[in-house]
């Protein structure tokens, strides 16, 4: 791709970005909930607080003045009070220029501040990221965006189906979804060829094998040490939801790995047509060894990061480290271990399949 073309894509992307920002900044009339834009903020009171665990914080009261952007009150000015703690664990500090949702009490008709409007920032980040992606790689970027859009659509359809069926078929549904999404994503990355077949079969078999092994072991050990009830959002039945989450969560990483190994092996066959299936299998293992660690880390860091706020809350509320970990980390830890098993299994599975299937082609 020429620099000139990149520049044009960047400019057009930037323009769309700005349009998106302006559009969402002025879309209040599309919302039914009342929205104001803050014109003035004044801190009226500050009180130091100490809780039962000797944590010091400050309660701040802000006087917020704003103008209505929608509903029949549009254009009218309003003064409201906001109270927040400096730590902002579940309250917000408001700034001038921010757009904020209001809540109107149904009986007294009085307004209170609800929460900040977020669509402008999110639309900006989404459009900005897509532009960056397309500037770096236009054709493959388009394909990636297409695959992610389709995946998202299918994901939502599957969950709608699950809710319509009363949630009893979650695991079979997510299993089928996983197979469908894998096929779709890999076809868009690799095209419908032999390498696609290798990666697809390897991804599906390694993922399901890892889940099967884990389910059997968890059953034998009676889920020793795992507190399913600590899962976020407490959706029943815990175990099924957990397995479905793990299944979808590792697909991307396993696909990453299987495409990596299979394309390297295909390259090897092209360079050395005389290579035997056994040699191919061994090279596959050697390539795989290098990528297991970094890939497991990707998922592991994400899972750990998600638990930060709740872990800190436990620690600061006078709990021991051991208790905190048992209440906040067992689910994430188990999820990482199952993912790591899948990622590890994918190496021999891909190497084996590639050594047989890629070899056949040259024979």
């Amino acid at each position: 791709m020429t620099t000139k073309k990149r520049l044009w894509i960047g400019l057009i992307g930037l323009l769309i970005c700005i349009l998106g920002l302006l559009g969402t900044r002025n879309d209040a009339s599309l919302y039914q909930q009342p929205i104001i834009q803050i014109t003035q903020v004044k801190t009226t009171d500050k009180t130091k607080s100490i809780d039962d665990y000797q944590n010091q914080d400050t309660d701040v009261t802000q006087q917020v003045t704003g103008t209505f952007l929608n509903t029949t009150a549009k254009g009218r000015s309003i003064q409201l009070q906001n109270r927040y703690t400096v730590s902002q664990a579940s309250s917000f500090r408001y700034y001038r220029g921010q757009q904020v949702y209001l809540h109107q009490d149904t009986t007294s008709h009085r307004y209170t501040l609800s929460e900040p409007k977020r669509d402008t920032v999110v639309v900006g980040v989404v459009l900005g990221t897509l532009t960056l992606l397309l500037v770096v790689m236009f054709n493959r970027g388009l394909k990636t965006i297409l695959s992610i859009g389709l995946n998202l659509l299918l994901f939502i359809v599957a969950i709608r189906l699950d809710v319509a069926l009363g949630g009893r078929w979650l695991l079979p549904l997510m299993g089928s979804l996983a197979i469908l999404l894998t096929a779709l994503t890999l076809v868009l990355i690799l095209g419908p060829n032999r390498q696609f077949l290798v990666s697809f079969l390897a991804t599906i078999s390694a993922t399901f094998l890892a889940l099967l092994i884990s389910v059997v072991i968890l059953k034998i050990t009676n889920d020793q040490g795992i507190h399913y009830e600590t899962m976020a959002y407490e959706l029943q039945p815990y175990k099924t939801v957990f397995l479905a989450e793990v299944l979808l969560g590792i697909l991307g990483a396993v696909m990453d790995e299987t495409t990596d190994i299979s394309s390297s092996l295909q390259q090897l066959v092209l360079e050395q047509p005389t290579v035997t299936p056994n040699q191919l299998f061994k090279s596959g293992l050697a390539i795989g060894r290098e990528i297991i660690g970094p890939l497991v880390n990707v998922l592991f860091f994400i899972v750990m990061a998600e638990a930060f706020p709740i872990m800190l809350l436990y620690l600061r509320n006078g709990n021991t480290i051991a208790y905190t970990l048992s209440r906040t980390m067992t689910i994430g830890f188990t999820q990482t271990v199952i993912s790591a098993i899948g990622i590890t299994l994918a190496v021999p599975v891909t190497s084996f399949l590639a050594s047989r299937l890629v070899g056949v082609k040259t024979a």
């Binding site: 770096v136 479905a244 990453d256």
Partner: protein
């Protein structure tokens, strides 16, 4: 849980030989380091200082323990470090503007009975979360691009810097696409239950687009993607610099 962990260890050794042990222990080490960092934050250390130290440690363990080639490891480490530092400049304002820090309405049950005025800055903790969450993907990408480029360099030591930089893009394209998928599917996994919740309770689209927890997660995901995309040119550029320094030294040594 313990049995499952031992099965993982067994499998790693079976597939990777002695290197499996290294992978396993580097994972364990990362776990200990992260928990230790959180204990320090809870103990009153500044989250941003811990963020710097933690990123440094995690990048060092996950890059140097997984890569044997010294030039690859060095390039990958510095690339990841610079990209993470650059990302902080984006994440900081974003997290404040989007106000996705702290606990959302759906967390209410989980945090019931806790004292919330704990004197820790949740905007800063959110910064810590987003950075650590994208660290793994950035490290993985930088290792992959650097090892591909070092391989080219070994094959042809005199390759022009511009050509090497360009080759980085070619290698990087596929890596960006798959890394995007890795992040995206992990996002699907962690948001399965929240999405079921949304659909069960019939949340309107307007509410979903402004949802504190979901949008926080979308921003984290995209920050990871931005990090991955930026890693690709950065790796090529840094490798060119490192190799120049190397060849200059060689020139000095030779006569």
């Amino acid at each position: 849980m313990m049995v499952l962990t031992f099965v993982l260890l067994g499998l790693l050794v079976l597939v990777c030989g002695p290197q499996g042990l290294t992978i396993f222990f580097s994972l364990g080490l990362n776990f200990v380091v992260i928990v230790l960092a959180l204990v320090l934050v809870a103990g009153g250390f500044n989250p941003l200082v811990i963020l710097g130290l933690l990123s440094l440690t995690l990048l060092a363990t996950s890059i140097f323990m997984n890569t044997k080639q010294p030039l690859t490891a060095k390039t990958a480490f510095w690339t990841a470090l610079i990209v993470v530092a650059g990302l902080l400049l984006i994440i900081g304002p974003l997290s404040t503007l989007a106000a996705t820090y702290g606990f959302g309405a759906e967390d209410a049950e989980e945090i019931e009975g806790f004292s919330l005025a704990i004197g820790l800055s949740f905007p800063q903790i959110s910064l810590l979360m987003m950075t650590i969450g994208s660290l793994g993907a950035i490290a993985e990408t930088s290792i992959a691009v650097a090892s591909g480029l070092v391989e080219i360099l070994e094959y042809d030591q005199t390759i022009a810097p511009a050509k090497l930089f360009h080759a980085g893009f070619e290698i990087g394209e596929k890596i960006i696409a798959t890394a995007f998928n890795t992040l995206f599917f992990s996002f699907f996994g962690s948001f399965l239950s929240l999405t079921i919740w949304f659909i069960q309770l019939g949340y309107p689209l307007a509410k979903i687009l402004n949802h504190q927890i979901l949008m926080g997660e979308v921003i984290s995901l995209l920050v990871g993607v931005i990090g991955v995309v930026l890693t690709v040119p950065m790796t090529g550029w840094l490798l060119n610099r490192f190799r120049k320094i190397k060849s200059n030294e060689d020139l000095l040594k030779k006569p």
